[in-house]
């Protein structure tokens, strides 16, 4: 199962590297959103400081929608879903692989975004360890839920509009937890970031479990 997951993840990442969509479109988009939020709130510096972590994660969610759409399209364009079934790959492994690939892309974007909030929003990173851990844990949760939702709407008309409607509410708790943890890591609000991180971790585990279990059911709906 692990080998299959790695196989799928490597395949997706290689496709992403070739198409360069993440680098040439997604990262600029993320930067743009950050700048636009800056325009919208910059008149009020304290507000921007307070809102930084929220804006960061909202941007990540936007980016995640794009990444998941891409990731789903890879399998639906030329009947690869059916071929995956015929190859006999464990659906759970496909899920893990695709979620891993999305996670890696999102983490790359988050790296750029972190630079963005430091430069543009003048954020100071008080606790780098908390920041990094939050990024990793929350990103896995987002990628897992997103990958499952992507499979859920795969092959359906109007999937581009339905995907955000499904993804965002399920990820709302992740947004909440990650934002609070970031508040602590950036020192903007006095909360206990690590306890929020614990909640996030719980969510991540649930999302992974749901995905591993349900992905096969959805993959069959080709």
């Amino acid at each position: 199962m692990l080998a299959d997951a790695i196989l799928v993840a490597a395949k997706d990442l290689r496709i992403e590297m070739r198409s360069r969509v993440t680098v040439s479109q997604v990262v600029p988009f993320a930067g743009l959103v950050l700048v636009l939020f800056g325009f919208a709130l910059d008149a009020n510096r304290p507000t921007l400081d307070l809102a930084t972590s929220g804006l960061f994660w909202v941007t990540v969610l936007f980016v995640a929608i794009m990444a998941v759409q891409r990731s789903t399209a890879i399998e639906t364009t030329d009947g690869a879903r059916r071929a995956l079934l015929l190859a006999g790959v464990e659906p759970g492994a496909v899920f893990m692989g695709k979620a891993t690939a999305v996670s890696v892309q999102l983490l790359a974007v988050e790296l750029v975004l972190t630079g963005g909030i430091v430069v543009l929003y003048d954020a100071s990173i008080d606790e780098p360890l908390l920041l990094a851990t939050t990024c990793i844990v929350a990103t896995i949760a987002i990628a897992a839920a997103g990958t499952l939702m992507g499979a859920l709407v795969a092959g359906v008309r109007a999937r581009e509009t339905v995907l955000p409607i499904l993804m965002l509410p399920v990820l709302a708790p992740v947004l909440l937890g990650a934002t609070r943890a970031f508040d602590d890591a950036l020192g903007s609000v006095a909360v206990n970031g690590w306890s929020w991180l614990a909640m996030l971790a719980g969510f991540t585990i649930i999302n992974i479990a749901l995905g591993v279990l349900a992905y096969g059911v959805l993959l069959e709906e080709t």
Binding site: S19, D78, G79, A80, R82, A83, L84, A87, E90, L213
Partner: protein
Amino acid sequence: MGSRLSTAIRYLTRASWKPIGCASLVASAWFLIRHVRQGPRASTDSVPDVSVVRLNAVVALLGRFPALAGVDLDVSAGEVVLVQGPNGAGKSTLLRLCAGLLRLESGRAEILGLDLAESRHAVRRRVGLLGHDTALYDELTVIENLNFWASASRVDRSMVPPALDRLGVPTRLHDVAVSKLSAGQRRRVAIAGVVVRRPELWLLDEPHAGLDQMGRDLVDELVVDAAAAGATVLMASHELDRTVDLANRIVVVAGGMVVADTPKSKEGGNDAC
């Protein structure tokens, strides 16, 4: 009365979601585990049957449409069966059903001696389906694509170059992205992907479509060789002049049923080896 009622209510409200939530969680987990496990746990050790495909009054739905409306078909090992019929007759659906990709609505189906209702997953690994899609990733090169599918199907990657060779895909194309190939070349790569799997049952849906003269000849050769090696071939095709000679049996499908089944005079194509 008030206190007893309020105790009851207190219990109700405090526990209201707990049993329901836990029960549905456990139930869904149980179901999903069952579902996911179904494949690997399937019995592959059943006694091998002479029949590779045995369909009995099979009804299969596409949505609510009965694409297969009661198919009876019995194909023995080593046979090359040409499946003919008008557009929309259910030929592709029949092949997909044999590949274990469809749910049986009613009837019985055994593929490679496995009950399709129970062991769809095990069937899938042992057949090779060439459909209308090529299932190739545009951004990856020819060799990367086939390596991926080989690994996913648990086949050694060293099988890939010979298979490409077999289909006449020149070495210079191995490292070219699939998106840059012509439709015919792409089709050849897809067929090579089926060859790599060395299936026991070949399910070829319009294998000649989009190929040039040489490519069509190569496909014919493949079919002959596969049958000679003891594999069974089910082939849907409109290329009658070509395939009629290849096949040792012609099955006509119409309206989701087998309406004619003609064995060719040259008996025992499977004894050729």
